[in-house]
Amino acid sequence: MLRSFAAAEQRLRMQGSRSEIDGVADNEPDQLWSALMAAAQDGDAIAYHRLLTALPPFLRILLRQRHVSPERIEDITQDTLLTLHRVRHTYDPGRPFIPWLAAIATRRAIDARRRNARIAAWEAPSSDMIETFIDPESNKETDARDHQDELTRAMAGLTGKQREALELVKLREMSVAEAAAVSGQTPGAIKVNTHRAIRALRALLQRE
């Protein structure tokens, strides 16, 4: 598996500019990624971009090997990148990079599996959403879509930053710090925008 990444890394090296990093490793992705991570820890954005761009294909293969279902792989890949970003100060450049990354990815896969199991224990897929009730008002097959339309309209009433904060914090369950990192907003702005978005949605939905 690692050999297949050597080719990808070769391409990356040809695109890149950091000669001191390129000189570190010609054959082993681990050494190259380790050098890129060390540079990223020092604030080198180009090295960090090269590293993060190179990792998703590796992570997808790794997660498949960990028996992660195909529809969850992209989520866990993203979650792994977020965690890597959050704990990047814990990487010791004197140690191999791949075991460090693999441990994070494996942990995130286990967490996702546990979360899914917990949800599955409490929730069941509803096959009888469209059902006949005594109340004719309840008989509309389009109820579910109507609510979705209402929500979509209400979401359209939010500002872009409010929508972004709400989506990252409430729908993707990121922490405030992670949402701030992803969106470029400050943590304070994330909190304020999430709060305002919820208040605005509540007001808009109550009006409708």
Binding site: Q41, A45, H49, L52, H85, V87, W100, V182
Partner: protein, 219 residues
Amino acid sequence: MPTPTDQLILALVRDATPVRRLRPPLQRALSWLAVVAVIATAATAAFTDWQVFDTRILNPDLVIEMTGTLLTGCLAVIAAFHLSLPDRSPRWALLPIPSLILWLSGSGMGCYRHWLTNPTGDWALGDSAHCFMFILAVGLPLSAGLLWALRRARPISPVPVALVGGLGAASLAAFLLQFFHPFDITFMDLSVHALAVLIVIGIVAAKPVRAGLLATREG
């Protein structure tokens, strides 16, 4: 059209400020233990009855027990600092086990010998309640301090970190207890010590406490 993963990468790169690397875990553990040693030395210098302690320390069972508690405390703290890092083996959690066995066997032997000379009084609660309170009163703040020191690693598997960290802090509290423990250990005493240690570990490993102190995000 960039994918969500590409967008995420760009956002993370935008946030790529320089970070201060963590010092090696052994070094961090020794720094933390050094701080505890300074506080403990000051506390024992001020409050220990050295006349009583000098007599008790002649008992080899007490020496074995104190060696066991001290080693368990130090090794568990070192293990917790290692476990807080993503790429360290979970087997670090086994590091304090041999010294824990030494502690329990040393105490057990002391209890047995005490029971041989005093077979009726061994199960009386006596001053054991004070020992229980001491381990909680010292073990919990030590645990809080330890987890606070460990939070910089933002452990991705916080449960073993909290469990082993709790064991380390409670063991150090049990070690310090012997400087203020004016009698030989009894079976009741040993049971109370073990219960207090388990309670400290349980509190520290409870999700709200560990998540709060370690500042982890647990799904």
